[in-house]
């Protein structure tokens, strides 16, 4: 099949060969009987980390939050840090799939599917923390409004309730959006399937899609509107997350700049993560001609831009602290840079503000190795950003007598590692069993898509 398809493409000037080629190359990722070793490697690592995390979570739930490093001054630490970090990572997916779609950025089609998948998996990882970080996770469902004998209801003034709604809406929307985009491609898989099981599974998932023009018409409308809805949603979600801090009293948290600052940071880290995942993927499943150099480069530019925004926010925070004339505020920020957590602050600034500057150079935007390394640094830096915001502020609160320090335990680390494992596992499975690139959309962006129309 593959040989004949390529022959058709290069031999005769058949326009449809290009479509065939796309179809084949992308579907082949899922159909290729011999899977690259690296895939098994990734899956193995993922499952290992996942099991570690699973144990740690069991331990936390059964024994209590005390197995973490949190204390009576530092109510939140790694748990919420990880939560915000994962949510942030998720945002790039929605951004790419929705906002770039609205902006008619053709290049997004090569990566949007994977990016959306990343969003969903990241949100799943993030969602773990708000639940297990509670002292009595078995009652976390009390945060969902439900009629009950005692007529008790949630307390909607709490930003945590806003979180519950924002995150769940975000997760639902992302999943629906993702699945909807995937249906035509699932149909492709269905039609190429040889084995009965594949036919059945993909057949059911494809909902009997048959590419009728009338269906395409409504489909495109719906897709456009979903994109339109996702855009304000993605902005709102991280704003709401930032409200967890911004609506509190604490110096270092009580900051009006948080919403834009958090959103920028989210996109920043998200793009970094997309690249960290896609660059290996395009080599692994040789999708180089689909996920092209210029796509990567464009992402680098976005990363650079958002990185600058983040850096700007940092400086604004300090300026406002000084300008406010409030000694508590001033001390907090001074303490961030020079207090016991100076190292966290330093790694945050260097990773998020200095590292992205490399993307000014084309060489750095084109060399995959450099990009990966820079992106990993950025992700680390963004984790530290959240850690700095949470830990330094909570360890130096209003009354000096309540000042304390925070030391993580191995269970803090274990749970975080576990979520990384979950993410890795899900993503490897996705790459193997689902259309990792939006086939139909890519075809649509080819010049051949307009073959034979008279202008």
């Amino acid at each position: 099949m593959s040989t004949e398809a390529t022959a058709a493409a290069h031999g005769t000037g058949d326009a449809r060969a290009a479509f065939r080629e796309i179809t084949h190359d992308i579907a082949w990722v899922a159909e290729n009987p011999k899977v690259p070793k690296a895939w098994y490697g990734a899956l193995g690592v993922g499952l290992l980390l996942l099991s570690i995390g699973g144990y740690c979570i069991y331990h936390v739930v059964m024994t209590g939050i005390g197995v973490w490093g949190n204390n009576n001054s530092v109510g939140w630490a790694w748990d919420i840090t990880n939560f915000v970090w994962w949510i942030g990572i998720g945002h790039a997916g929605t951004l790419i799939s929705a906002i770039l779609y609205l902006m008619r950025q053709g290049w997004r089609t090569s990566i949007n599917r994977a990016a959306e998948a990343m969003t969903i998996f990241a949100v799943m990882c993030a969602g773990i923390f708000p639940i297990i970080h509670t002292g009595r996770p078995w009652f976390a469902w009390w945060m969902i409004p439900h009629p009950n004998d005692m007529h008790m209801w949630p307390q909607f003034r709490s930003p945590l309730m806003w979180d519950v709604f924002a995150i769940s809406t975000y997760a639902t929307t992302s999943i629906l959006f993702w699945y909807m985009g995937m249906v035509p491609d699932l149909a492709t898989f269905r039609d190429r399937s040889k084995s009965k099981i594949r036919q059945l599974v993909y057949g059911v998932l494809a909902l009997g899609w048959r590419g009728s023009a009338r269906q395409w018409h409504r489909y495109e409308r719906a897709y456009l509107i979903l994109a339109g809805l996702s855009t304000p949603l993605v902005l709102s979600v991280h704003s709401v997350v930032s409200f967890d801090f911004a609506t509190s009293l604490n110096p270092g948290w009580h900051t009006t700049i948080f919403p834009p600052y958090f959103v920028a940071g989210a996109i920043f880290s998200g793009f970094a993560m997309v690249m960290t995942l896609m660059i290996p993927a395009r080599y692994l499943f040789n999708l180089k001609h689909i996920i092209k150099e210029e796509h990567i480069e464009a992402m680098c530019k976005v990363t650079l831009a958002t990185g600058m925004m983040v850096g700007f926010s940092y400086s604004v925070e300090f300026f406002i602290a000084w300008y406010s004339g409030n000694e508590f505020e001033q001390f907090t920020f001074l303490n961030r840079a020079s207090g016991p957590f100076w190292w966290a602050w330093l790694s945050m600034v260097s990773c998020n503000v200095l590292i992205p500057q490399f993307f000014w150079f084309k060489k750095c935007r084109t060399n995959p190795w450099i990009i990966i390394i820079l992106c990993i640094f950025i992700n680390i830096g963004m984790w530290f950003e959240r850690f700095v915001i949470i830990a330094t502020s909570l360890t130096r609160q209003w009354l000096p007598s309540t000042w304390s320090y925070y030391v993580p335990t191995k269970y803090d680390v274990g749970v975080f590692v576990g979520t990384i494992g979950l993410f890795l596992t899900l993503f490897t499975l996705f790459m193997r069993f689902l259309p990792s690139v939006a086939i139909a959309e890519v075809k649509n962006t080819l010049p051949e898509a307009h073959a034979g129309k008279e202008h």
């Binding site: 009595r136 409308r221 949603l233 139909a440």
Partner: protein
């Protein structure tokens, strides 16, 4: 899809014809041609949305956006209503000294209202789209044609259904060929209708999975409705097991099995000095004292005291001694009815039985500590009230054994006037 062999094509009824085209452009042209020819029951099929085909086929704009707007509005109102009901109507509490419902003065209700708006819009657009598209539809006649598999790969098709009124097999074929179709193929329905239906086992699968999904709910319902003698199970003890000892509970560490260790003889709790033997014990003095015949200094005989005494008497004494004190209260009556032997409470007012002759102190002592079958009431009735009862009993005796002289003249006349 199971693809039938072409020999069986003729023996199914005709569904329509399917023409394949080379390029999107060709498809558009053909679509326009077919439409101009007046066909309505036709559709184009392509691996991706072919731009321009809508107007070529004359597809009307979908109403989906309107539905979504409706959904959004519902979400907005729903979100506000939910919050208002939860925090301002159903469960209003003073939280941080804030007003119950300040929307939109303090914007703490905005985020959730917003999220709800988005959520419902998303639902409507997602499900609305599939419903309008009549999907999921697992089976379609064109799936029987091998070539149609290319529709999700590189094939561009135009299919005209036989139910179109202008449909005529030869005519339509010619039209399509002239429109530049690479191939035109008839599509017949499967002769046996069974294959058009969903396979039985699929139904089975759906039913079984649904049932399984319901099992947990069934169990929960069962658990809620069960009436067991045994206490409930629980996984996390939470605050059900209190590491403390509540009032009058058992505690197996002590030989008597009680947590209540009682009072150590000889100790005196604060406020229980009880050094006034007349008031507390009805004696002139503790060692070798006599019953007091009058009332202790703390007890002033006032109408209020008598009223209180009457009230207490009717609560504590009347059940046995009767409201009139003749010793024929509810309980002795019932005991007699039940034939459970004779229970004869003391007749308090009968001059012969001696309560009248008892000194006040002794009556007080009897109330406090009991007298053969009668138990002591010191734990239930405070001393002041016990004295009030004594006072009332005295009044009762007097009233029940009253002579004419005891009645004031005017009252006497009243009574006589009342009964001529």
């Amino acid at each position: 899809m199971d693809t039938p062999d072409n020999t069986s094509v003729e023996n199914g009824e005709l569904y329509g014809v399917l023409a394949e085209f080379d390029t999107p452009g060709a498809l558009i042209k053909a679509a326009r041609k077919v439409r101009d020819a007046g066909y309505t029951e036709f559709d184009c099929y392509s691996p991706f949305p072919v731009h321009g085909i809508d107007e070529a086929m004359g597809i009307k704009r979908t109403i989906l956006p309107l539905l979504i707007f409706g959904g959004g509005i519902t979400g907005l109102l729903g979100g506000c209503l939910l919050q208002w009901y939860c925090n301002a109507s159903a469960w209003h509490w003073n939280v941080s000294g804030k007003p119950l419902w300040t929307f939109p003065i303090t914007p703490n209700n905005v985020p959730i209202a917003f999220e709800c708006t988005i959520l419902l819009s998303v639902f409507t657009s997602f499900f609305g789209m599939w419903i309008l598209n009549k999907l999921p539809q697992v089976w379609h006649p064109f799936f029987r044609l091998d070539r149609f598999a290319k529709v999700t790969d590189d094939g561009f098709f135009l299919g005209i259904e036989a139910k179109d009124k202008r449909f005529d097999l030869a005519e339509t074929r010619r039209l399509l060929e002239s429109a530049g179709a690479l191939e035109v193929e008839d599509c017949n329905l499967d002769p046996d209708p069974e294959t058009r239906r969903m396979p039985i086992w699929l139904y089975g699968f759906i039913i079984v999975s649904t049932v399984f999904a319901l099992v947990p709910f069934a169990l929960i319902y069962r658990a809620r409705a069960s009436h067991s003698k045994e206490p409930h199970y629980h996984i996390f003890s939470d605050m059900d097991f209190q590491a403390k000892v509540k009032s009058d509970t058992a505690f197996d560490m002590f030989p008597d099995g009680r947590a209540n260790r009682g009072e150590i003889p000889g100790t005196v709790a604060r406020g229980w000095l009880e050094d006034d033997s007349a008031y507390w014990r009805g004696l002139t003095q503790d060692q070798g004292g006599e019953w007091i015949t009058n009332f202790p200094a703390q007890v002033q005989i006032t109408p209020e005291l008598m009223k209180r005494g009457q009230q207490r008497f009717n609560i504590y004494c009347a059940p046995c001694h009767g409201y009139d004190g003749r010793g024929d209260g509810m309980i002795p009556q019932r005991v007699r009815k039940a034939g459970a032997g004779a229970l004869l409470p003391r007749n308090l007012i009968d001059p012969k039985t001696g309560v009248i002759t008892m000194p006040n102190g002794q009556v007080f002592n009897t109330i406090s500590n009991g007298y053969n079958t009668m138990m002591g009431y010191s734990a239930q009735i405070p001393a002041q009230d016990r004295w009030a009862i004594v006072a009332y009993v005295r009044a009762l005796e007097r009233a029940q054994n009253a002579a004419q002289g005891d009645v004031p003249a005017d009252k006497w006349n009243e009574i006589n006037g009342a009964t001529p």
